[in-house]
């Protein structure tokens, strides 16, 4: 198991390296540059060229990339042009809120997705299955940004149950309860699609397992039905579901970009949206690297979990 874990971790290094190359190239290809964003309407070709030289952006792309990698290896992700502060400081400050939001959303979707899938599978074609099936279909097809605005209008502006956005009271004294109040709507918004996908997948996987011989054998031996479902069937179905949970973690991190924008959640996603608009290359680079690292880490954990559930995988 340990060798497998190390092998998976080692594979993460080239992946992260590849991510940085792609991000660097993509941003370099987009028209407009940081000098323009800094100078705004007062940018002239001359002043842009001068500022680009000051920022070191007139050097060839490979040279800039290598310089960045060299610094990154020592833990220096550069300085944000737009915010005038070290990229690492900004990314770390923004990572916490994103982790809280993503963890809450993923937790909700795993809890409700698995439950919905199991309930549907156990009563296949019954009314529970049909109702849950319809709800999951709706969930898969609702765009999060639309759902988010709807929830804000209804539950925040209309009923005043939850704050419309932000991560906590502005003036301190909020504590954990205040954080949770601010967390409910964005977490639910972000969780809906992932819940629906997990629900549909769990149902399919459960149906598949429930039809297999060992389940029939278990029932024939007189194992009580509850145990058949939760131990024999679910544990085996999870082998198919767990990698998708890993994928959904990626989806949740990606979805955080617009959910954070709609709910003013001060996370990495919103930071990236603003940084791209400002052509803040190093901040985008740092932010994407952080998200990618997180995603890779989740994948490693997922793989390990899967290996634990199904010892054949490790081989």
């Amino acid at each position: 198991m340990r060798a497998y874990a190390l092998r998976r971790l080692a594979l993460a290094v080239p992946v992260l390296f590849g991510v940085t190359v792609v991000v660097f190239l993509v941003i370099a290809l987009v028209p407009g540059d940081p000098a323009l964003a800094i100078l705004g309407s007062y940018a002239t070709p001359e002043s842009v060229a001068r500022l680009n030289a000051e920022l070191g952006l007139d050097r060839p792309l490979p040279a800039r990339y290598l310089a960045w990698v060299g610094n990154a290896l020592t833990g220096d992700l550069g300085r944000s042009y737009a915010l005038d502060r070290p990229v690492l400081d900004e990314v770390l400050e923004r990572l916490g809120p994103t982790l809280i939001l993503a963890a809450a959303a993923l937790g909700l979707s795993v809890l409700f997705g698995l439950a919905a899938g199991v309930a549907s599978a156990v009563r296949q074609n019954g009314w529970v299955d049909r109702t849950v099936g319809l709800a999951l279909l709706l969930g898969v097809s609702t765009p999060s940004f639309f759902l988010g605005l709807l929830l804000i209008l209804w539950l925040s502006v209309g009923l005043g149950w939850f704050p419309t956005g932000g991560m906590g009271a502005l003036f301190g004294g909020g504590g954990i309860v205040d954080l949770l109040r601010h967390l409910v709507l964005p977490a639910v918004t972000l969780a809906v699609v992932a819940t629906a996908i997990l629900g549909r997948l769990t149902r399919a996987a459960m149906l598949d397992v429930l039809r297999q011989d060992f389940v029939r054998t278990a029932r024939a031996k007189g194992v009580e039905e509850d145990r058949v479902i939760s131990v024999h069937a679910l544990k085996n179905a999870l082998v198919a579901v767990v990698p998708v949970i890993g994928l959904q973690a990626g989806y949740v991190l990606g979805g955080a970009v617009y959910v954070e924008t709609v709910f003013q959640w001060p996370g990495v996603g919103r930071m990236l949206v603003e940084a791209i608009g400002r052509r803040d290359i190093l901040l985008v680079q740092g932010g994407v690297l952080a998200v990618a690292a997180l995603y890779v880490a989740i994948n490693v954990v997922t793989d390990l979990a899967q290996a634990a559930l199904d010892p054949r995988i490790e081989a």
Binding site: L170, V184, P266, R270, M271
Partner: protein, 525 residues
Amino acid sequence: MGRAATGFTICVFGLVLGVVALVVTGPGHSATPRDTLVVGQMAEPKSLDPATVTAANDFRILANLFEGLARFRPGSLEPAPALAESWEISDGGRAYTFHLRPNVRFHDGTAFDAEAVKFNLARLLDPKHPSADAGPFPLAFFLAPVTAVEVVDPLTVRLRLDQPYAPLLAHLAYPIGYMVSPTAAKAAGKAFGRAPVGTGPFRFKRWESGRQVALVRNESYWGDKPSLSRIAFRPIPDANARASEMLAGGLDLMVEVPPDQLASFRDPARFALHEAPAPHLWFLILNAAEGPLRDVRVRRAVNLAINKRTIVENVLSNAATVPAGPISPAFGAAHDPTLEPYPYDPERARALIREAGAEGATLTLLAAEGGSGMLEPLAMATAIQADLARVGLKAVIETFEWNAYLARVNGGLKGAGMAEMAWATNDPDTLPYLALRAEAAADKGGFNAGGFSDPELDRLIDAAREETDGQARAGLYRRIDRLVHDAAPWAFVASAKQSAVTARGVEGLTLEPSSLLELKGVRKR
């Protein structure tokens, strides 16, 4: 019921109970503290160093932290005393002697004196100054004619200029002229933008990325102390989210209200809607250097063909007015009040186009997808395209993201016939000087992207720049206003009003023509 199902039910029950508890124990509609003003802004500021920023969004915060030697007289764009109590202009407009206000201290206790003024100007204008590495300072060129700063005595400072330069006072009243604490700027270097120290009525408290910039009252302010003890500027880039937050009561003041949401706030029991003119101009740069628009008749025809009134009413929900020329009425006497906007007259436009032999011409119209001051650039481009089609001109729209757009347009129109542009300025000199002189052509590094050239206009602009007598100077700008209107290097389409919404109980807010949001006179009931 099975064990698993029971476990799940308990989980869900617990969650639901938790959420209900959150709702029940929560404060209901969010309310802001009584002594605190919460302001909803469009974006996170880039920096709070007044010398490094160019956006009105950032200026709104700075106007409460900092002051310049001069400020704009309330309700106008006329320079009035601030950190300088008075000044004399001598040497034919080449020397400005400022008498500084005594007993003024920066928030960190540093004395505000002639040495501080000298430090500030040197930081901006001398690239080798030890504190110049906090730059780039994109607007420092506004003060570039200053060649020397002489400390006459601790409370008297003299600025020497290499040429008479009448816009100086207006720029000293603008954020580029705001005085920063030399002690703090030296110590912080590049980090000053995140730990600003000025002399203003509010002090910087903290900046939480993506959440708020918090200011607190400056208890040792030299003037009338503000009634508010705190201000929080919250960045809410999404317009819908910002409006929701205002409706839910989480904001006391919201600026730049999207035109299509004005209606939501027309509820006097809960909100007050503020509107004021601003020196903003939205125009089409017309390519006066090549193609059919070289002919002034075709340029006038474009002005006549565009139904400005309809654009302002339907696309901009009346959040703008129709301008007549390049000098905004917000500049007071510099604007020619007898000048009327081009009427909507497709008949005359068609006739002029026929006369010029430009019927059926195809013109590329460069349009931005968004951007500072650009209002609704795509919808406006489409409306203009339809208007031009009615008089026999075919406009082909090319759209760009804002950053890419600036790069394309500021390099010169080159092949394109028209380009959208918007400016908001603080002195009548700025726009004509930067964007209409022959010397300001794009290939010479200026903003005259259409390549318009008129020696008479250049002469007037230079004369107005050197004229230090206010009335004579205003007279020159009135002539510029009319000349540019007639020569039509641009199509004058819209001039946006400033807008803001305040929650009930917020009093004393006035929107200034400068768009600087001074909050020291604001109270909450």
